[in-house]
Symmetry: C2
Subunit: 391 residues, 2 copies
Amino acid sequence: MMPFEKSEYLQRLAKVKESMSAKGIDVLLVTNPANMCYLTGYDAWSFYVHQVVVVALDDEMPRFIGRYMDAFCGAVKTTWLAKDHVHAYSDDHVQSLVKHPMDYMAKLLAELGYGDKTIGVEMDSYYFTAMAYERLRIGLPGAKLVNGDLIVNWVKIIKSDGEIELMRRAGKIVAKAMSAGAEAFKAGVRQCDVAAAITQAQIQGTEEFGGDYTAIVPLMPYGETAGAPHLTWDESRYTDNTSMYIEIAGAYKRYHCPMARTACLGKPSPEIERVAQITIEGLNAALDTVKPGVTCEEVEGAWRKTIAKYGVEKESRIGYSTGLAYQPDWGEHTASLRPGDKTVLQPNMTFHCIPGMYFDDFGVSISQCFRVTETGHEKMSQFPFELIVKK
Amino acid sequence: MMPFEKSEYLQRLAKVKESMSAKGIDVLLVTNPANMCYLTGYDAWSFYVHQVVVVALDDEMPRFIGRYMDAFCGAVKTTWLAKDHVHAYSDDHVQSLVKHPMDYMAKLLAELGYGDKTIGVEMDSYYFTAMAYERLRIGLPGAKLVNGDLIVNWVKIIKSDGEIELMRRAGKIVAKAMSAGAEAFKAGVRQCDVAAAITQAQIQGTEEFGGDYTAIVPLMPYGETAGAPHLTWDESRYTDNTSMYIEIAGAYKRYHCPMARTACLGKPSPEIERVAQITIEGLNAALDTVKPGVTCEEVEGAWRKTIAKYGVEKESRIGYSTGLAYQPDWGEHTASLRPGDKTVLQPNMTFHCIPGMYFDDFGVSISQCFRVTETGHEKMSQFPFELIVKK
């Protein structure tokens, strides 16, 4: 069921261990579901309970520790881990006021001989809660807990050719989903019906490649709140001479290709037209800068310089590393395209460049997911850089 | 845009403050997105960055603190909060290696005069990371940080009549979505196509009520891994004489009505038939027990006693409180239907009773979302208690 050969997982693991060694970390507790999947192939919606992948320098194989109902059918059958490297806590630990899963994990880690080691934890990872950290600290008094956040993420930032191929397929899916949304978007139609058309297309995928769920649901703020980029939809109906901001992705085997566009019902206002033209010119300038050796802030600088010609500024970053992801974000939390980010671009890094312009009563975004190639960039999806205009 | 009158939000807030007072908490930092929505009406997919709703005993109105692009168009326009109770950190705090949003929040809380107060934090809430906790502790050295987890959740456990009505609508949507899934499930069809049909129905909703996204994507483990309840789907095709475990929900304005069923292609195996019959008898026994005054463990006890007649046991809990939810879980993390849970049922509590039976190579579940009424229970959705059999 895994999308990659075992050898690729072993290569990933070797890079993670190299980084752990450099930081003096003996054992890394991986709690970010995307990182768990990246190292073991484990892919299930079980991250709503505490679960961990343990990477130890002294063990060739990682361990999975999770809930009983996820471990022995799910983790054993769907990953490359051996049964003796899969561990489970009993169900009375789940969302209990009495027992905490991390108490079980701490005890197990001590039994495995890690009770006096330097243990890295993903301090700012979504599913590693403050309580999880507290219980580990109490349960492992002899261990040194240190911040191991983003160790796996920084390995993930350079994709293998196999990963790139999955993202290209996601790119085909997102183009189809954006077309489905544009097609459905009409005056008199309910917002939920457009969301349903987009989601149907995302999950159905193409004839060749079935779609996966995306780490963010369709964002489609509309009308007066179209400048609030993270609103979703409701059941109200679209009216003429309005605009919608759409940000979606295609996903294939958890790999994402995001895309944003702005759609107008009727002739766009001069202001939207103007912002769209500036955005497209700035986006192209940013993309033209991309090649190995250039820094993230230089890419953003090309955008910034271009839009400044028109007296426009944008506060927020214009992009981020993307790829393998689970709810709630398809960003990888490593490099961002923004001032001060000195990350040097390398081949097979993948970014979503999304220079969103958000105003009080409208938002414009025309975005592109790209790969850094040996000499420039590859667009991971094909969709025209223009406003979607429905007459 | 809010689904409730301001007066209902004020009532909720009063109950939360009562609980805070009883626990000696002056200020509660609410980070669970469902709890943030419950108190303010804020509904956006922005919980992938750090954000907080501040409830202070000395202030009638909560405060929203979030990212700039979410605060002034989204939070101001879509909640009942006044503009002076909405605060934003600049974008260079987002997923940055240098600045952390909680540093901004700590500084703001100190400026508001809360630097020496007892501050409750939701210690085991999904989006309150270990790092968020650390930064708050460092940024508020004079404050006493205490565990305020589940304070809002325990208020939420009893729904208003308005909330119940939203759940009934979600119940109509989930029945439609389950029918769509059953209809699409055929030999030769790809798993992703069934997932697409279910999701389309979930989000389209009914003619009257548009659907919302659900806090968990369709869970639909199939074939050899149908006993791993949290697997999703892939692009492979169904074959005859196999079974699938389906767990989905309908959602309406973020309120959920979950439902699980087992579907078979061709005549079910005698073993699946037997487990289904036992499950239905046990589920009915549990539901028959439900009324105000009964405890959660008594409900589970009725199930346990029934299935024991057939020599069957189930380790995991058979249900949990449900309602307003965001990714990754529609459970409320308060009461569970399991041994030891002495929560006393009260009118307008709502549960998903899901006695899932998971085996090495198949899973059976027939579930029911219910409301506790004055005298018994109300089924929040209508769908027959039986195996879905496709000939």
